[in-house]
């Protein structure tokens, strides 16, 4: 167990173990045998490995010790939490015509959400979807619990989350905006679980926003989402992360793509949450697949923002492109690890990855680790990573035109972020992100 955080895992680790044992002994769940078996396997894995320490390569730069030290409540009360409408409104992209879906503490809230009167679109609480064929076929199939400690504990213990299925040939006319709201009076460890299945030749846009209610209590959210993008399907997927410093987030997103599909992920995070760890894994498991991953992380205060991505090229003739840009203010720490795998059969692969970091704070830290692993020869792959400061000549040019220091910086930061923001195809979302950058710079 030398790779486990022994000194702090005790309370939360043993609590998770106890929860699981209690649940499996009570035997009152109506869960199908396959799911129980999967939970058991995940539990055994977690029991063995616990929470990762910095000795685990994927957690080398992210020390979880300070974020797991409180006494967390692991099992929530089932009462619906009251939520102020203004909070939900604030999290929405202004002026965007969309369907609204609200999830509070990992629980889907039809009472706060729009009805989606669209044929071929099925939205349920995950717990209500367990019997559906799409659930049986896809749930838990793509996430490697042996390598992902948090996904393992989530699989063992999740209670609920969202299930979204978009049937074959269904094109969702409006974006779906999912607001994930977290509110807790006591220190809480939440483990929501989501499954999104986009059918053959279907298309959708999903915008997920994460916000926390300002409370004194700390919340640790361990999200796991599995996403299947069917043949010839298209999914545009946004994550907009805000929150306060009481919030710690782990997002594990596992994307599985079939032939000729397109998956675009846009990830933007802003100062607030004290810990944000994103695992975004994309498997390109069919020919002619395209994946684009765009990330923007603006970090401030003592924030630790850690983006880990895996792009796994398994079949020939696929393309992937990844661009992550980070701006580190104050004493923020940024971590980037991007892995590209090109398997033996994945000939004619084009895979590109770029990570650029702007270090603003004197005590800011960046740890960047791009990584290529190539097992096929007829490929074009590249990655690049930079860490730097403002271009002093550009700064001087702006100042010589009468622009003050602060304004000049803001201009240059927007320019730095532009490579990512310009990729956002929805003008309202682009404007919203720019607004958040503006606010993030001031905070």
């Amino acid at each position: 167990m030398d790779n486990t955080i022994t000194q702090i895992s005790n309370s939360l680790y043993s609590q998770c173990i106890a929860d699981y044992e209690l649940r499996s002994s009570s035997k009152d769940t109506a869960e199908p045998a396959e799911l129980s078996a999967l939970r058991e396997k995940a539990f055994q894995q977690f029991k063995k490995t616990g929470f990762p320490s910095t000795k685990v390569e994927d957690w080398k730069y992210t020390n979880l010790t300070p974020f797991l030290k409180e006494e967390f409540i692991t099992e929530q009360e089932s009462d619906l939490v009251a939520v102020e409408e203004s909070l939900v409104e604030k999290a929405m992209v202004p002026g965007l015509d969309s369907y609204r879906v609200v999830v509070v503490n990992g629980v889907y809230r039809p009472d706060l959400s729009d009805n989606i009167p669209h044929e071929g679109v099925y939205l349920f609480p995950l717990s209500a979807a367990i019997g559906r064929p799409a659930f049986k076929k896809h749930f838990g199939q793509y996430t490697d619990i042996s390598r992902n400690h948090f996904a393992a504990v989530n699989t063992a213990l999740f209670r609920d989350g969202l299930f979204l299925e978009i049937k074959n040939n269904t094109v969702l006319g409006k974006p779906l905006q999912v607001v994930h709201l977290t509110a807790a009076d006591d220190h809480t460890f939440l483990q929501p679980r989501h499954l999104i299945v986009v059918g053959t030749s279907a298309a959708a846009t999903i915008i997920e926003s994460y916000v926390t209610v300002d409370n004194e209590a700390s919340v640790f959210i361990n999200h796991v989402s599995e996403i299947v993008v069917g043949e010839n399907a298209q999914l545009q997927h946004y994550y907009i992360q805000t929150g306060n410093e009481k919030a710690r987030y782990i997002h594990h997103t596992e994307v599985y793509q079939l032939a000729s599909s397109v998956y675009n992920n846009y990830k933007a995070s802003f100062p607030g949450t004290s810990l944000l760890r994103n695992n975004l894994n994309v498997a390109l498991d069919g020919e002619n697949v395209e994946s684009h991953l765009y990330g923007l992380y603006l970090s401030g205060g003592h924030q630790l923002v850690d983006n880990h991505t895996i792009v796994d090229h398994r079949k020939p003739h696929c393309q992937s492109n990844e661009l992550y840009k980070g701006v580190m203010k104050d004493e923020a720490t940024g971590v980037f690890n991007g892995k590209i795998f090109v398997r033996k059969d994945a000939q004619k692969t084009n895979a590109f990855q770029q990570n650029n970091n702007l270090m603003l704070g004197k005590k800011a830290v960046i740890d960047s680790k791009p990584q290529l692993e190539i097992f096929a020869d007829d490929v074009k792959c590249s990655h690049g990573s930079t860490v730097g400061q403002f271009n002093q000549e550009a700064m001087f040019y702006l100042k010589s035109r009468g622009i003050g220091d602060e304004k000049a910086r803001a201009l240059l930061i927007h320019a730095f972020a532009y490579d990512v923001t310009e990729k956002i195809p929805i003008p309202e979302v682009q404007a919203h992100i720019n607004q958040l950058i503006e606010e993030g710079l001031k905070s």
Partner: protein, 481 residues
């Protein structure tokens, strides 16, 4: 420029032409690793008490360690007790002049293209030849002595210059650094020692040629180079070994120390026996090389051309402590058949205005696996530090692999770090273009690969550059269908 052509002409069909063995009477320690063996080696070398003590300390530490597991290859189990830690030609432990050296030994080095008689020497290169565990001969000693340059075997330095050895040994690579550094510190066989006095620009290239000959032995040499204030030295090392079916371990340690305004240029052409087509035999080349730019404006530059060894596992590094100091790493690593290379560099920026530059060119052919692993670390005090890294991989054939693992860690917001990496296949259209000009495919590949590696080869002194180009061409033979 005409050399490329001669080289191409020279390309022989031999698989590994340095694979012969030398039949010579040897003093070989019994297999096994324990305090007695360490005492035996130390006694053979007539070492002072402090050195024996430090060997024993390292051994005790080594015995507590486990093999690392982070590398990107499967490390076959190594039985440290099945290795003999000392092997030396019997005749004499130390030679006063070349006349005393066994003619068989001289012939061996002659055959390797390393003539030790000074008349035949390439002008401007002084050579120290290390055969298994001991240094055989060092040339041009007197000439160097006039300038105050010390260039001798490690064992000799222990006897003649104990104060310098004691002052610097283990200061850059302590025995606690890693398991192989610990092993080396315990069983150091021999190696080279260089000291360049203040303000001296060493007028010739210094070169050590390492040769493993005996069976079931390992080679554990230690190289220590100290460049005093304002001095300059260019140092080269070459290595070969006979073809044997079992794997042999080479666990050397190299320490470089550059004081104020000093510069050390260290070049390696590594051609240890790589094993056969099926991956049988070959050298495990597990070497720790590190330099420190201790003073201001100091500079250390590593250049390596790695074509040999079954497994190459090393990261020549530079600690940039002095303000305005700079570090460079230029590397070509070629893997074919079942060869594995996990190599790269580490640049630790500590001082202000420190600079580092990394150019790595990997070539994978056959079933070869080639990994670049590098670390660029910017400390919080490294104001205005700069790094540039270019890391390319070339793939020849669809059974090989290329992997890139760069680590960038920056704690200073005035630093600038740039890393670029590409992976691509050797261009079919390039080969056809050369074919159309009358050049056959094998030569076309050699030309393209030499062109690809040029930026690194250009860093080598002339004689070594020629050698390196030949090696690349020979190593690639039969890799292209």
């Amino acid at each position: 420029m005409s050399t490329d052509i001669d080289i191409l002409k020279d390309v022989s069909t031999e698989e590994y032409k340095y694979g012969f063995t030398t039949d010579i009477e040897m003093d070989i320690a019994p297999k096994g690793l324990n305090e007695d063996i360490v005492r035996f080696i130390s006694q053979k070398k007539n070492e002072p008490e402090w050195l024996l003590e430090s060997r024993l300390k390292a051994l005790r530490h080594f015995l507590k360690l486990e093999m690392p597991r982070w590398q990107n290859f499967e490390l076959p189990p190594i039985d440290f007790q099945a290795i003999s830690y000392y092997a030396a030609p019997k005749k004499k432990a130390k030679y006063n002049s070349l006349d005393e050296v066994d003619p068989e030994l001289l012939a061996t080095f002659e055959k390797l293209g390393i003539p030790l008689s000074e008349q035949k020497m390439l002008s401007g290169v002084a050579v120290d030849a290390v055969f298994d565990s001991v240094s055989v001969a060092t040339t041009f000693k007197t000439k160097l002595k006039e300038l105050g340059v010390i260039f001798c075997s490690f064992s000799e330095a222990v006897q003649e210059h104990p104060e310098l050895v004691k002052k610097y040994l283990g200061t850059v690579v302590p025995y606690t650094d890693n398991i192989f550094a610990a092993l080396n510190a315990a069983v150091v066989s021999d190696g080279s020692f260089v000291y360049i006095p203040k303000g001296v620009r060493c007028p010739m290239e210094l070169s050590t040629y390492f040769r493993i000959n005996a069976q079931n032995t390992g080679q554990f040499e230690r190289t220590l180079i100290i460049a005093d204030e304002g001095s300059y030295v260019s140092y080269l090392e070459g290595c070969t070994a006979p073809m044997r079916d079992e794997n042999q371990l080479h666990a050397a340690v190299v320490e470089l120390i550059a004081l104020d305004n000093a510069e050390i240029k260290y070049s390696t052409v590594q051609n240890w026996y790589p094993g056969d087509k099926e991956g049988k035999g070959g050298i495990y080349n597990f070497v720790t090389k590190r330099g420190i730019c201790k003073g201001v404006n100091a500079k250390i530059s590593w250049t390596q051309v790695e074509t040999g060894s079954a497994i190459t596992w090393k990261y020549p590094s530079v600690i940039l402590r002095g303000d305005n100091s700079s570090g460079e790493f230029y590397s070509v690593a070629l893997t074919k058949n079942k060869q594995i290379a996990d190599t790269g560099t580490k640049m630790y920026h500590i001082g202000k205005n420190t600079r580092s530059r990394i150019i790595s060119k990997g070539i994978s052919a056959g079933h070869g696996q080639n990994s670049y692993r590098g670390l660029v670390q910017i400390g919080s005090g490294a104001e205005n530090a700069r790094n540039f890294t270019q890391c390319d991989s070339l793939l020849i054939g669809d059974e090989c692999g290329a992997h890139t693992f760069p680590y960038i860690e920056s704690k200073n917001n005035t630093a600038m770090v740039e890393h670029e990496a590409t992976t691509s296949k050797i261009g079919e259209d390039q080969i056809f273009y050369l074919n159309q000009r009358g050049i056959d495919t094998e030569k076309a590949v050699a030309l393209i690969v030499n062109g690809y590696a040029k930026e690194v080869l250009n860093q080598l002194p002339m004689e070594f550059a020629v050698e390196a180009q030949k090696l690349l061409a020979i190593s690639l033979e039969g890799s292209v269908g």
